[in-house]
């Protein structure tokens, strides 16, 4: 009886190992998909939050003094008290980043890493060109006020990002992918911190 049971266990072993392998593979795939989502979410959130804050694009505005919520940006009347946009920026950034993270789990890793490179380089170049345009406008002997437009500085940023993401090797894009996860929040904080300089220079 014992031998029969042992025999039975030995026979069923290969089948069980297949089941276990399949289960492990499924859990690894799920973990890997969550990793793709989490990394994309982090990068996208940092970029989008910085953008929404700088452009002041909240999903909603909260007026704490009168406990009222308004859709999008609504400064309200003076007697409504101070408006709060922060909640609206956070919720909008989180929602958009979650959608992007979900999309990221459905595309090929190679394509995702290249797209991430494009977005991150563009996010870095755009404010850099915008700042440069400001310096040129200040120092130029001709009227260069048109350079102050956000959209004008977006053109070289777009070209630069397209060039970088086209020419970098897949290996570099792969290695840089998790690196953006740290560079984007730090870059965002530099921009957001600089925007607060009026408080520190009074």
């Amino acid at each position: 009886m014992t031998q029969a049971l042992d025999m039975d266990q030995r026979i069923s072993q290969p089948g069980r190992s297949h089941v276990m392998e399949a289960a492990t593979s499924r859990s690894t795939t799920r973990a890997s998909q969550f990793g793709t989502f989490a990394i994309t979410f982090g990068i996208a959130f940092a970029i989008l939050y910085t953008l929404f804050e700088r452009q002041n694009w909240p999903l909603f505005t909260y007026h704490p003094a009168i406990n009222r919520l308004d859709f999008w940006k609504y400064p309200g009347a003076a007697e409504d008290g101070p408006p709060m946009f922060w909640y609206g920026w956070v919720v909008l950034s989180a929602a958009c980043s979650a959608v992007l993270g979900w999309i990221a789990t459905m595309v090929s890793v190679r394509w995702l890493q290249r797209a991430t490179t494009f977005c991150c380089v563009m996010a870095a170049l755009w404010p850099a060109f915008f700042a440069l345009a400001g310096v040129i406008d200040e120092r130029a002997s001709f009227n260069a006020e048109f350079l102050r437009s956000v959209w004008v500085s977006g053109i070289p940023a777009l070209v630069g990002a397209a060039a970088v993401s086209y020419f970098v090797s897949s290996r570099w894009a792969q290695r840089a992918w998790t690196g953006w996860l740290l560079f984007m929040p730090i870059g965002g904080l530099v921009i957001l911190g600089y925007s607060l300089n009026t408080y520190f220079l009074r």
Binding site: M84, W89, G179
Partner: protein, 166 residues
């Protein structure tokens, strides 16, 4: 809430909430600091001075605790932020405490960036630890520790202006 406010006054409720926020911040601060130290000094040594013999709990065991503390802390901070905006920031501006206002404004961005990295942070610390993500894991952890330290210090300064015991 009405039942609660029947028992305690509104200012007392907010002070209790602020104190809980502070107490949880201490726990979070300890956890992120120990984890950051553990990844910066991973080698365990039996001999040497106190610092060298310092052998913290394996860094991975803190990750879930940190996520479970960071998230409610951020939510609680977001709730208290309503009172800060109306009852603290306005007088702070009146007294021209611009550095405190600016630092607190920056705090909201710092905490938000920490929140953004939280899912990736949790993923990086899942067992078995991936060698591929070792560098990212280290720096994301240090960044998170920075966000907690910065928020704690600035929050404490704001509390000193108008908060518990001020």
């Amino acid at each position: 809430m009405d039942i609660l406010f029947g028992t305690i006054s509104v200012p007392t409720f907010w002070k209790i909430l602020l104190f809980v926020h502070f107490a949880l911040a201490i726990v979070l601060l300890a956890a992120v600091t120990l984890q950051a130290v553990a990844i910066l000094m991973p080698v365990r040594q039996a001999a040497g001075n106190f610092i060298n013999r310092f052998s913290p709990v394996p860094a991975a065991s803190y990750a879930t605790l940190i996520v479970l503390l960071y998230l409610p802390q951020a939510l609680m901070g977001a709730w208290i932020y309503v009172k800060y905006r109306t009852y603290v920031r306005i007088p702070m501006e009146g007294f021209r405490h611009w550095w405190t206002v600016g630092s607190f404004e920056f705090k909201e961005h710092v905490v938000t960036m920490g929140l953004a990295l939280l899912p990736a942070y949790w993923y990086f610390w899942q067992q078995p630890l991936s060698e591929e993500h070792a560098v990212a894991r280290k720096w994301v952890t240090i960044f998170l520790a920075f966000t907690v330290w910065y928020s704690f210090v600035v929050g404490h300064v704001a509390n000193d202006f108008r908060g518990v015991g001020s």
